[in-house]
C-alpha cells in the first residue's frame, strides 16, 4: 500500500509540481494518474521510488515513510518502466531483464530461470534472449522493458506512459496483455498516462490531476458517472456514455437467461466470443469478459433481439437493448438533472 499524505513538491527554481496531494493506493491494485502534461503526475510517481523527494508531507510504502528507507534498496524493490523504455542497448535482452536480480545478487541459475519465465510471461520468444535490443520492434522493446521491471518480483510497479510511444494497434494489444499479466502478478501498480481512455481501461482507480493537484480520485465507473467538476467532464470528453459501455462488463447489465428472451437465444450458445478487438464474429454468443460496448456492437449487427452470455458452454445471462438502456437510463437522468 502506498500513501501520499499532504505531499508538496517544489523544485529549487521555485516551480511547484504538486501541492498538498493526498491519496492512497491499495495493495495489489492499479491506480492510474492521469492529466494534461505538466500537471505533476510524473513527479508524483517519482516520489514513490525517491527519484524525487517531497518538499513537504510524506510518501509511505506499507506504512513506512520512504525517506527512512535506503533509496537504492527501495528502487530495487520497485519496478520502473518509462515511455522511452531506456533499454541498455549494449546488453542482450536477457542481460537487460537480469539487471536487478544481478544487482541484488541472485545466483546464475535462479536468474536464468527467472529470465525464461519473464520471456514467456511477456510473450517474447526465447530466441530473443541473446539478441540485442536494437534488433527488436517498438512493442517488443517495451515488453522487455516491462520484463526488466518485473524481474526481481517487486511489490510496487511504476509505469510512466509505458505504451505512449507505440502505434495504436500495438498499444492496444500490449494494454490487453498487460491487463492479463496484472491479474497474475498481484503487484501494486502506479500508472501514469495523459490518455483518459487508457486510464479508464487500465485503472482500478484513477487520480485525475490538474496543475499540481488531484481533482478527483475514484473508480473509472464513478468518474464517468459523476465527474466532479467541469475540468474532469471536459477531460473525459463528450462520449462519456460510450466510454462507460467500453469498461462495463456485460455481466453487470445482463438479464436472467430464462426470461422473455429465452426463445431468442435458443440454440445460439456454441458460438465463439467477441473480444475487445471485435474481429471475430463467427457467432453471436457473448463471453462474461466482453464489454457492453462489444455487446451493443453485436446487437446492432445481429438480427436477434437478444444475445446470450455464455460461460463454459452454459448460458448465464442474456443481453438485449433494454438491459443496456436500463442500466444507463438512471445515469442519463442524473446528468440531465445536473445540467
Amino acid at each position: 500500500m502506498i500513501e501520499f499524505e499532504n505531499v508538496t513538491k517544489t523544485y529549487p527554481d521555485g516551480t511547484t509540481a504538486i501541492e498538498n496531494v493526498s491519496f492512497s493506493v491499495e495493495a495489489g491494485t492499479t491506480t492510474v494518474l492521469v492529466g494534461p502534461s505538466g500537471c505533476g503526475k510524473t513527479t508524483t510517481m517519482k516520489l514513490v521510488n525517491r527519484l524525487e523527494d517531497p518538499t513537504d508531507g510524506t510518501v509511505s510504502v506499507d506504512g513506512t515513510d520512504n525517506r527512512e528507507l535506503d533509496e537504492i534498496d527501495l528502487r530495487r524493490n520497485t519496478g520502473y518502466v518509462i515511455q522511452e523504455i531506456g533499454l541498455f542497448d549494449h546488453r542482450t535482452v536477457g542481460e537487460n531483464i537480469a539487471t536487478v536480480p544481478k544487482l541484488v545478487g541472485w545466483d546464475d541459475e535462479r536468474i536464468d530461470e527467472r529470465v525464461r519465465e519473464l520471456l514467456d510471461l511477456m510473450d517474447l520468444s526465447r530466441g530473443f534472449r541473446d539478441q540485442y535490443p536494437s534488433e527488436l520492434s517498438g512493442g517488443q522493446r517495451q515488453r522487455v522493458g516491462v520484463a526488466r521491471a518485473l524481474a526481481a518480483d517487486p511489490d510496487v510497479l511504476l509505469m510512466d506512459e509505458p505504451f505512449g510511444a507505440l502505434d495504436p494497434i500495438t498499444r492496444d494489444r500490449l494494454q490487453n496483455e498487460f491487463l492479463d499479466i496484472q491479474e497474475r502478478i498481484n503487484t501494486t501498480i502506479l500508472f501514469v498516462t495523459h490518455d483518459i481512455d487508457e486510464a479508464l481501461k487500465m485503472g482500478d482507480r484513477i487520480a485525475i490531476f490538474d496543475v499540481g493537484e488531484v481533482v478527483q480520485y475514484d473508480t473509472p465507473q464513478a468518474i464517468l458517472d459523476d465527474p466532479k467538476n467541469e475540468f474532469v467532464a471536459d477531460f473525459i470528453g463528450e462520449d462519456r456514455s460510450f466510454k462507460r459501455l467500453d469498461i462495463t462488463p456485460v455481466t453487470e447489465v445482463m438479464g436472467p437467461p430464462d426470461g422473455e428472451y429465452a426463445a431468442a437465444i435458443d440454440g445460439n450458445t456454441d458460438a465463439t466470443t467477441a473480444t475487445d478487438g471485435g474481429s471475430s464474429y463467427d457467432g453471436e454468443a457473448l463471453s462474461p469478459d466482453d464489454s457492453v460496448k462489444a455487446a451493443l456492437d453485436r446487437l446492432l449487427r445481429s438480427d436477434a433481439p437478444a444475445l446470450p452470455v455464455v460461460e463454459n458452454g452454459e448460458v448465464i445471462g442474456v443481453v438485449a437493448d433494454e438491459h443496456i438502456r436500463a442500466s444507463f437510463g438512471r445515469r442519463s437522468d442524473a446528468r440531465q438533472g445536473a445540467t
Binding site: 521510488n49 527519484l51 537504492i72 534498496d73 527501495l74 528502487r75 530495487r76 524493490n77 520497485t78 520502473y80 518509462i82 522511452e84 523504455i85 531506456g86 533499454l87 541498455f88 542497448d89 549494449h90 539487471t99 536487478v100 544487482l103 540485442y132 535490443p133 536494437s134 534488433e135 522493458g145 526488466r148 521491471a149 511504476l158
Partner: protein, 239 residues
C-alpha cells in the same frame, strides 16, 4: 624540368624503394622503437585521461579547468618541453613519453567527457530507477556506451603521438625520427622521404586498426552505421 623526363618520378620512387630495401633491417628496428614509445604513451595516457574525463562529469567547474589545462598543454612546443624535462628525466625516451602523455590528454579527456554526458538520458534514468548506484551506472552503462567515443579520442591522440614522437629522436629517444635527423645532417633526401612515408603509413595503419575496433564497439552498442570492409569482415567472423 620535372615533366621533361617521364622517367624522372619513376626513377625517384625507385630510389626510395631501393633505399628502403637496403635499410630494411634498420627500418624495422626504428619501427619497433617508434611503436614502443607510442605504446608506452598510450598505456600511461589513456587511463589518466579517462579518469580525468570521468571526474570532469561530476563537476562542471572541474571540467572547464581540466579541459583548459589540457588545451594549454598542447600549445607548448615539444622541443621546449624536452629541454625543460631533461634536467629531471634525463635524455632518451622518458622526457619524450612524458611530453606525449601531455599531448594525448586533450582528445581523450574531451571525448570521455562528451561520450559519458552524451549517453541517452532515458538509459541513465532507467538505470537510476532500477536501483543502480552512480558508480554502477558509470561502470555498467555509461562507460560501455561511451567506449566508441572514448576510443575515437584515443585514435586522435595516437596519430598526434606518432607524429610528435619523431621529434623525440632529437634527444635520443630513437624511432623514425633518427633517420630524418640523419638525413638532414647528411643531406640524404631519400632517408628523409622514406622515414616520413614510414611515419605516415604507421600512423594510418594504427588509425585504421583502431577505427575498426571503434566500429565494432558501435555495432555492439546497436548503432546503425556504414561499415568499413574490415569491420564487416571481423563482425562476420565474430558473429
Amino acid at each position: 624540368m620535372l615533366s621533361s623526363s617521364p622517367a624522372g618520378p619513376i626513377s625517384l620512387a625507385g630510389g626510395y624503394v631501393r633505399f628502403a630495401a637496403e635499410n630494411a633491417e634498420a627500418l624495422v628496428e626504428l619501427l619497433v622503437e617508434h611503436s614502443v614509445i607510442t605504446a608506452e604513451t598510450v598505456v600511461i595516457a589513456t587511463p589518466l585521461a579517462i579518469v580525468l574525463g570521468v571526474a570532469s562529469t561530476y563537476n562542471d567547474r572541474l571540467a572547464t579547468v581540466v579541459l583548459w589545462l589540457a588545451g594549454i598543454a598542447m600549445t607548448i612546443p615539444s622541443l621546449a618541453l624536452f629541454g625543460l624535462l631533461i634536467p629531471f628525466l634525463g635524455i632518451g625516451s622518458p622526457p619524450v613519453v612524458f611530453t606525449l602523455v601531455l599531448y594525448s590528454q586533450l582528445p581523450v579527456i574531451r571525448n570521455t567527457y562528451v561520450g559519458l554526458t552524451g549517453v541517452d538520458e532515458s538509459i541513465t534514468e532507467a538505470g537510476r530507477g532500477l536501483g543502480m548506484t552512480r558508480r554502477q551506472r558509470l561502470r555498467r552503462i555509461q562507460i560501455p556506451i561511451a567506449l566508441p567515443v572514448i576510443l575515437a579520442g584515443v585514435r586522435n591522440a595516437v596519430v598526434i603521438v606518432i607524429g610528435v614522437a619523431t621529434v623525440g629522436a632529437y634527444i635520443g629517444a630513437g624511432g623514425f625520427g633518427d633517420l630524418i635527423f640523419d638525413g638532414i645532417r647528411q643531406g640524404n633526401v631519400e632517408a628523409i622521404v622514406v622515414a616520413t612515408i614510414a611515419v605516415s603509413v604507421f600512423a594510418l595503419a594504427v588509425d585504421y586498426g583502431l577505427a575498426t575496433i571503434e566500429q565494432l564497439l558501435r555495432l555492439r552498442n546497436g548503432d546503425d552505421i556504414e561499415r568499413k570492409t574490415s569491420t564487416q569482415l571481423v563482425w562476420r567472423v565474430l558473429a
